[in-house]
Amino acid sequence: MTTSAQQQSPLLDATGVAKNYGAVAALRNASLSVLPGEVHALMGANGAGKSTLVKILTGAIQANAGRILIRGEARDIRSPAAGRRAGLLPVYQEPSLIPDLDVLSNLRLTGTPVEPFRAWVRELGIADLDLRDTARDIPLAVLRVLDLARALAVEPDVLLLDEMTAALPANLAEKVLEVVRRQGDAGRAVIFISHRFVEISALCDRATVLRDGETVGVVDIVPGVEEKIVELMLGTRIVKTHVAARSAAEKAVSAPARPRIAVKDLRVGTKLNDVSFDLRDGEVAGVVALEGQGQDELFAALAGSIRPSGGTIEVDGNQAKFAHPIDAIRAGIAYVPGDRSEALAMQRSVRENIALPFSAALRNWGPINMRKERDTVLGAIKRLQIDTRAQGEVQRLSGGNQQKVTIARWIAADARTILCFDPTRGIDVGTKQEIYKLLRELAGHGKSVLFYTSELEEVQRVCDRVIVIFGGRLVDIFPVEEADEPALMRAAYGLPRGAKADVGILAAPNASEPGATP
């Protein structure tokens, strides 16, 4: 790490940055040093602390510890306004133009000079922009470009781009990359957060890698560095090749004639494109994706809460059109969101929450059969071993028990397919294990589960197959035997999986030599 560039004094130098949320440390010891004229990639797996670091650098939140030097001077960035004054400008993933103001007013609000802004907008490939247009009426992709142009117009020392190209069509993305590269050449610095290795290797000079809230390495971007970065992101964590042993009986279930759900060319706006896969009875299919690659839209479409803009969903061979979650539920498809508060009536009891899906249907108006309800609920509680000491109000249960309640209600309602969206988010290890076991059991009983998780190691523990989504497209499907953590990480970052070992689900577990490690 003794490149010649290292001798220059850095534009931005953050060291020892830490941030705690209660007992949880989002950042422990993060550092980031950016030199003039450099495009610097900031990388890390989900939850590594990238976004926390970005928020601290731009003044959106305050760090508990650490030192931030800008041009060698210690700066205390207490608000986004202070960040701007310090010459540090972010472009966030969500557009930050005020939706109800026109573009011109937005420029005035931030004190952005209009002429440079116009010039940058043209440069970035948008020919016909009316400054009197209200931000709300401008398409998302253009808004992001306007955000960038607004940042460029004040000539910041350090430009911070968070997933800048994610929502852009190819032609705009190309222009953006070009402009970003030239920023670097002009002696300014750019911090570039992206999940796309292709962009990073084309654009960036160095990369800082975060893991578990700590900076674990700074690498020069040279051909072939991807492997090193993946290694750094994973760290010394023991790479488990352990695959949950499946009994022969379990396996036997999973060979039906037609799939339980067949998704074909599913499209949701610009977020999800032409995704096709099958979900069979008796299997747990894992969805592997970095944040915001379209998995939210995929689950929402399957759960009936948004309408896809194209493609078909077949349930048991019949084409299904979900206009409302009730349609999906009637088809036996239940959605367990990662955020429990989206699923539960927090002030109500465990019993009511579990009974809601099967007792509350409009056609069942009239008195509820209390005995039947109680029996069903008790059965589900017992099966999931929900701690019912605080059952009067769901909000008083621990996160893990809350998550169990959201799953229990669908077991009580006897849903045939369960869509689990990151169900183990923020819950303790013991409960996690129980949930893994439960999902396996459900599959053993012939149910099907679609399981998205942000923790890659869970994939090996729970899933039969892995579906990889990257940039709104399904890029790969492979059996879990090939899914060790490096393989999953590479897949999640859209890197090719290397030589595909020809191993099917039914192959013997000893064939699980990590096929993707070169």
Partner: protein, 323 residues
């Protein structure tokens, strides 16, 4: 032109509605003339200021339930200070009362920002506090007002060179309203502060990220609301010559006019002109219904229906425009 229509379409529509109502009034009561218009303007004055007060906070994404109580307190304070005092003393009373409104409004904002108690709760509590305070100042309608203040809103504006027939349609109350609102609103609208008020109402996160000091802006929005409410209180004292400690029907009327005036209750959208025109519309409807000798209870029902119908019609037009 299309830009103007798209932005100001709602206000233009309201103006058209107002003109239709004037014509209807002339048909109902052929004798409806400049004098009646003058009294309409005087009657509208306190309502208009209440609406201005509400509009500012609603644009900033909040709500102020203490508007009417604030008007009552400022009104009785002004009336009790001016009772038996010299004419010149009123020159001191007016800025004092306005400052009081501003400070109390800022207090509203400060409580909301610091305690993070929802605005609806804070301003509701403030409603009771101010109501009580008003009764402490004057326990029954009373006090007085300087003659020059009263004269400020009665009669018409004599403009040299204009025929009396036209002059008669320019009541002083209308002029006072326009001047007071313009002096505060137009500079505000064009300043960064005004933009910031719209910004925090439209999207607090985006505003924060754009470098807007969200908390300070919110406090100022409530302070301006208090200032307008103090104008409203003064207008009450000016038109009646006394102060009344019990708040009038200005709170709900202000919310109604804000909605009718095209200001989104979610914040960030609309202007001041729409709600002010809406106040005229609502008062004129009431006048017409009274002229038609309709049961006052039915009048309230009709007012409610008109409001729902207009807002629904507006939403319908907007949706058609989007498609």
């Amino acid at each position: 032109m299309s830009h103007f229509l798209r932005r100001q379409g709602w206000v233009v529509g309201l103006f058209a509605l107002l003109i239709v109502l004037f014509i209807a009034t002339r048909i109902i009561q052929p004798g409806y003339g400049s004098g009646d218009f003058g009294s309409l303007a005087r009657a509208v004055l306190p309502y208009a200021f209440a609406v201005a007060a509400q509009t500012v906070v609603v644009i900033a994404g909040g709500i102020d339930l203490s508007v009417a109580a604030m008007m009552a307190l400022t009104s009785v304070t002004a009336a009790s200070m001016m009772a038996g005092a010299s004419e010149e003393y009123a020159l001191f009373v007016v800025p004092f009362v306005l400052a009081m409104g501003f400070v109390l409004g800022a207090l509203n904002g400060l409580l909301i920002v610091v305690t993070r108690v929802p605005d609806i709760v804070v301003t509701l509590a403030m409603l009771f506090v101010l109501q009580g305070a008003a009764l402490l100042v004057l326990d029954a309608p009373g006090g007085g007002a300087a003659e020059w203040l009263k004269a400020l809103i009665s009669g018409t504006v004599p403009i040299p060179g204009l025929p009396d027939a036209v002059d008669a349609w320019l009541p002083k109350a209308l002029l006072v309203l326009i001047v007071c609102l313009c002096v505060i609103w137009i500079p505000l609208r064009r300043s960064r502060l005004g933009l910031s008020i719209y910004a925090i109402g439209s999207s607090e996160l985006a505003a924060f990220r754009s470098g807007v000091p969200v908390k300070r802006t919110r406090i100022i929005a409530y302070a301006l609301s208090g200032l307008f409410a103090a104008f409203g209180g003064l207008a009450l004292t000016m038109s009646t010559g006394i102060g009344a400690p019990i708040p009038g029907p200005y709170l709900l009327a202000s919310v109604a006019a804000v909605v009718l005036g095209g200001v989104a209750l979610g914040g960030g959208k609309g202007g001041l002109l729409g709600p002010i025109v809406a106040v005229f519309v609502l008062r004129l409807v009431r006048t017409d219904l009274t002229l038609l000798a309709i049961d006052p209870n039915v009048t309230a029902i009709i007012e409610g229906l008109i409001m729902v119908a207009v807002v629904m019609f507006g939403a319908f037009i907007t949706m058609r425009g989007r498609q």
